[in-house]
Symmetry: C2
Subunit: 436 residues, 2 copies
């Protein structure tokens, strides 16, 4: 075999992912050398506390608390500390020194991706972050490379395992929202503060990254419309099932034409109804999947584990091997590509169908009132069903499925329903996704 | 923007895929230039008959019948003629001249992949064939690059859309085998000679390619064990459903340890039962999907269109963009990687569970006879069910689910059942796949 060049790999952080990456680098030295044409030499692991307990036993002499020093001499820096600083500063320093950088830090990429991509491009280095979205699933590389000759039109992702686990339990086992949350928490699916997951902040960060890559456009995380799953009730799950659908928290990135003709991009996160025959409906438990629609390839889906130390380490290793091959071959990394610079459009420009649940006064003429109210706002009903009558209160529950319309019109319709004398309460408003 | 270098792209073949590739190259000139940093100049299209009708209107001056001449001056050659010769000779000539080659030719890659990969490696050129397996689905690149730091243990693929369409109709609409075949044929899912599809030859070519890439080992197509779907009956579909399973034609590549301890690889194609909760069970109609199991990433699935001119053209374009970027950046292509050189093991070394359907004499002691016959061969029954009694003939139908055992033992068991006086006929033997 040919003599290998040694590449110096610096690891920043040694949590559940970092420890597995270190283990794999050490255990698979020869295999990785055969695959890359370079020896991947782990030169150090920067941590805050050298004596903290680790998932994996690693040589003590590898550990250092001096991340800045470690970064200086590295050919490839693997950042798995998480958070914005000092990760951002260390990555910028590494790139300025010509090192390739691999990171799994979704918060950082969502907030500072363009800045870091620019820094990489200026020195011809490679910045890769496959593990930042949907853990082990190869999605960044297929979007950036395999579909590079195609035009992506829409991306629908189940990118948060905790919320998918909760919704899946409610759907498949009939759990109440509280029970499903409790089980998810007991099984370690939820953080001590579950807000990041259940309010959709985590999914929004991933929507930003997916939208940026799919549409070659900077999409700031602040521009992502976001609703979480905390309001989702068993009644909504049941109404979804009755309509042949299932509720999933989706991160959506879509090419859109605004009402005024502007070509733009929408990025949004919300719980939505999706048809039970749609491939995303079969994504159970804590699994993730990203469904991609494009002009030429049509419909694609990428499915797998969205989290987990060893699973995520697989994605990090893939990026690491790619960076090593680039070092051996020479040549610059793939550029960050924000060349399209489309307008990021607000939620009001999105077109979807709605499922609306109402409590109405159970009296003659109510249906006619509601039908004409919809028509006034340019929204047409695809189905109306009276599901439950509450005789003692003189009210009934209606489930209305609308045809596709612009969000602004649908929102105005819901507002008008809320103000109508015939309507006691609007108990649920959910969008339908996944149809063309 | 920077000045672009022009790359000369030669297209060999202009069928349904070639015509779409040509169209996209011409229509998306500027977009592709922005994405690659190079102008992709379509310099010619080699065809047998310049006046043949095409799916897409293309400038007549691009066409030539002189493929050899066209290849000579090209930076990138896109081979979409199909068949072994002259495709193989033209690709070798292109690679010898230092051109990168993109092909969708599964028959050629299955038969001569290693030879072509060697030729590419010798001159540092890139040979890519994403479109050769599962059409539009990015699977080759994820296996070769994203999972490059992982260890793949098994690949289960639904890689033939025609047979999936037929089996899906039988399962979901209750069609007989003949009806499903007829509909598939009417809708253009089947070739005039459907043998390549229904007898599993097409899937076997893809199994070869998947096994070679997943395990860095040359797996000749002749070494792929192969059974088609022509024997599959409605009764088998029904028995599968009853067992909570569905029958899919699977192309399987698996790492195995033989009985004698040899580390090896198995590649095989057959219709198998798969649990209805398995993600592959939700792959309907003519869609394809490849399910990958690896040590670190766990379970991944890649889903999408397995055929179609425009869908396949998307995968070709992705390879083309990758080749163009490499030309701009310099450096060699990713090597073909047969460095593991594992032994290709015969079907007898595979371990699976079986579902066996028997017609037996409906008399006392039959079950005991069959149970002891299984035990003699070291096979243990997981379930035995008497499904139908044919009173007039004095026979009954038994469905036996076995625990996992080596194929050789299971085959011997089936042989012994066939020879038993208690057994009138063995009507179905199917393997169960997808369990760990």
């Amino acid at each position: 075999m040919t003599a290998y060049r040694d590449l110096r790999v610096a690891l920043l952080g040694c949590g559940s992912v970092g420890a597995q990456v270190a283990r794999l680098l050490l255990e698979q030295r020869e295999e990785l050398a055969a695959r890359t044409g370079a020896g991947l030499q782990l030169v150090g692991i920067a941590v805050r506390n050298i004596d903290a307990p680790r998932d994996v036993e690693l040589p003590r002499e590898l550990f250092t608390t001096d991340a800045e020093q470690l970064v200086l001499g590295a050919d490839i820096v693997v950042e798995l500390m998480g958070g914005i600083e000092p990760a951002r500063g260390l990555i910028l320093r590494a790139l300025e020194g010509g090192a390739d950088v691999v990171t799994a830090n979704k918060a950082l990429i969502a907030a500072h991706g363009p800045e870091l991509a620019d820094a990489a491009e200026q020195v011809g280095a490679q910045l890769s972050y496959e593990a930042a979205v949907a853990g082990a699933i190869p999605i960044i590389r297929p979007l950036r490379e395999s579909l590079a000759g195609d035009h992506i039109t829409r991306v629908l992702g189940i990118v948060n395992g905790s919320t998918n686990y909760i919704l899946d339990r409610m759907d498949r086992f009939g759990d109440s929202a509280e029970d499903a949350m409790r089980v998810a928490s007991e099984l370690g699916y939820l953080e001590a503060d579950p807000t990041l997951d259940v309010e959709g902040y985590d999914a929004a960060q991933k929507a930003t990254i997916l939208a940026s890559i799919a549409f070659h456009t900077e999409v700031p995380v602040e521009a992502v419309y976001r609703e979480g799953i905390t309001g989702i009730t068993s009644a909504q799950i049941e109404a979804a099932r009755h309509a042949g659908s299932v509720i999933k928290l989706l991160a959506i990135a879509e090419r859109l034409t605004a009402a005024d003709g502007t070509e733009g991009v929408s990025a949004r996160v919300y719980p939505a109804l999706i048809d039970r025959d749609h491939p995303l409906a079969a994504v159970h438990g804590g699994k993730n999947a990203v469904f991609v629609e494009s002009e030429a390839a049509g419909e694609l889906m990428f499915y797998g584990a969205g989290a987990g130390g060893i699973e995520t380490a697989s994605a990090v290793l893939g990026d690491l091997v790619s960076a090593a091959r680039r070092h051996v071959a020479g040549g610059p990394g793939i550029p960050g590509s924000a060349h399209a610079e489309l307008t990021v459009l607000p939620i009001g420009e999105v077109s979807t169908a709605y499922q609306i649940m109402l409590t109405v006064r159970d009296q003659p003429g109510v249906l006619a009132t509601i039908a004409s109210l919809l028509a006034e706002h340019g929204v047409s009903a695809a189905s109306v069903e009276q599901s439950v009558t509450h005789d003692e209160e003189g009210t009934a529950t209606l489930v209305i499925g609308t045809h596709q319309a612009r969000e602004a019109e649908l929102a105005a319709t819901v507002e008008a329903l809320r103000g109508s004398d015939a309507v006691t309460a609007v108990t649920s408003v959910l969008r339908l996704e996944g149809n063309s």
